[in-house]
């Protein structure tokens, strides 16, 4: 995002120091945690089964959209889980259109029909982001030209026929990074306009599967080279974004563009969060709209949203760091999950006293014994086990439930 004014910092005024509270430009509606897929890198909370029985109603979503729009929200992301498992997405989209949102549906394409697409178009949905999931199967299918690839191709064709840009999102991990060339060929073959190659971030299920999913540095370097070659070849026909994995950087990312600065996430059960994985933080109570919390109060005043907004909460080494505005100390959730101290520097940072945790994780991914452990797929059965406190050894290395 550029020029949005969303990076507004506390600004000294003439008489007193008045803090400008940023606006929630981006509303993310995680409308359901249900999903027909079982991705090993899923960023949904590992105990998501706890939140699938009490989803917000259509009316509740509509009032969320209205209230957030009044507060200045402009971009709307509808995601999940698989949002298309709800049969009221048409109504939600139509309301978003009436309110003037720029809206985006993030889907695996499972359940997308011509009829629904027509309804989305009529309602004013602005774009659709198609995620490629079981990529190995799809590549195989692509090469051998069989069913699932055909299905993706059909969905992609339908999206394009309705005048939508073809935005493709591919999560990259050890099992597909060597196939990046084929992935890009496939993206081109289905007519993608934008491709986001998102390296796995380690939250939720992907954190549990980290040793199995993390690529090596060599793989990563190669992948970037392949991407650059491809870019040079296709030119402006296809825009390719390569999102580097933060474990291999020596500075953390500016998580969510700052806590409570731009993004407001409303989850399936009505909990309002500044970041997808914020529930993993200790001593925090996140407002829930089913308990009558207003979004206005939640965003502007709730302890949860004000706690890590700006940089007052920082301690060393971040507090006196000349780079602190660049990354705001990185991700609070990652920091707590990995170090047990939510206010420290993100361990990805080479200045963090806990940076060795990241280096160790990179080593672990090279350890054939750890790397060959079975992957824990995201599904209801595993989620139940985790919620009940089974699978302790998997969760033990982390300071709360990923």
């Amino acid at each position: 995002m550029t020029n949005t004014g969303s990076n507004a910092k506390p600004m000294p005024s003439a008489d007193a120091t008045v803090k400008l509270i940023p606006k929630p430009f981006w509303l993310l509606a995680e409308v359901t945690y249900r999903c027909p897929l079982h991705c090993a890198f899923c960023y949904n909370p590992t105990d998501y089964v706890e939140h699938t029985q009490n989803e917000l109603s259509t009316e509740q979503w509509i009032s969320v959209l209205r209230e957030a729009r009044k507060m200045g929200a402009l971009q709307l992301g509808i995601s999940g889980g698989e949002p298309l498992l709800r049969d009221d997405i048409e109504e939600i989209v139509a309301e978003a259109g009436r309110l003037g949102y720029y809206s985006n549906l993030i889907t695996s394409g499972v359940g997308l029909t011509e009829k629904r697409l027509a309804e989305f178009k009529r309602g004013g949905l602005d774009h659709i982001q198609l995620s490629m999931h079981d990529i190995t199967k799809e590549i195989n299918n692509f090469i051998t030209d069989t069913n699932t690839f055909d299905l993706k191709k059909k969905v992609a064709g339908m999206i394009k026929d309705y005048g939508y840009p073809m935005v493709l999102n591919v999560v990259i991990h050890r099992y597909n990074i060597e196939h990046l060339g084929e992935i890009l060929e496939m993206a081109d073959a289905i007519g993608a306009d934008y491709v986001e190659l998102a390296n796995t971030q380690y939250y939720g299920w992907s954190l549990l599967n980290r040793s199995q999913l993390m690529p090596t540095r060599e793989q990563l370097v190669k992948a970037e080279a392949v991407t650059n070659e491809f870019r040079a070849r296709v030119g402006s026909r296809m825009k390719i974004y390569f999102v580097v994995p933060d474990y291999y950087a020596d500075r953390p990312k500016k998580c969510m563009n700052g806590w409570g600065e731009v993004f407001m996430i409303v989850t399936a059960d009505g909990t309002v969060l500044p970041c997808h994985s914020a529930r993993s933080l200790p001593n925090m109570e996140f407002p829930n709209i089913r308990n009558g919390a207003s979004l206005e109060w939640t965003w502007n005043e709730s302890p949860a949203f004000t706690k890590y907004r700006g940089d007052d909460w920082m301690k060393e080494p971040c507090r006196s760091c000349p780079e602190k505005e660049k990354d705001l100390g990185g991700c609070r959730c990652q920091t707590f999950l990995l170090t047990g101290d939510a206010e420290g520097a993100d361990p990805v940072c080479s200045l963090s006293p806990h940076h060795d945790i990241i280096l160790q994780a990179i080593e672990d991914a090279k350890n054939p014994l750890l790397a060959s452990q079975p992957i824990l797929f995201r599904n209801d059965k595993n989620s139940k086990l985790i919620a009940e406190g089974a699978l302790k050894e998997l969760v033990a290395p982390f300071h709360s439930l990923p």
Binding site: M1, T2, N3, T4, G5, K23, F25, M71, G72, L74, Q75, G100, Y102, N104, D126, H127, Q129, Y164, P165, V167, D193, Y194, Y241
Partner: protein, 96 residues
């Protein structure tokens, strides 16, 4: 990428971009899949007129009439269009 903008060129918004007045921002914004840009007053007036039919020359005339006191308006408009084109916010529409 920066090729010269000519007065007979016709521009429209790039595909998938949306342009709208935003009360909360008190200004015009451009919206697109990866984000948004807030346009300043002058830029907003220019982009508002890019309807895929008017030429750059016609838009310059219109703006000169609408803002008779603005100096250097022609240069500003060209500079703005160049920037917008470099950033892929706008694209050339087929013209004679």
């Amino acid at each position: 990428m920066s090729d010269k903008i000519r007065s007979e060129d016709v521009f429209g918004l790039a595909r998938f971009y949306r342009f709208q007045w935003e009360e909360a921002q008190n200004g015009y914004v451009l919206l697109f899949p990866e984000g948004m840009v807030k346009l300043n007053g002058g830029a907003g007036e220019v982009v508002k007129r890019l309807d895929g039919a008017k030429t750059v020359g016609q838009i310059v005339d219109e703006l000169k009439q609408a803002f008779p006191d603005a100096l250097e308006i022609e240069n500003d408009i060209y500079a703005m269009l160049e920037l917008a084109h470099d950033k892929y916010w706008i694209e050339r529409k087929t013209n004679a």
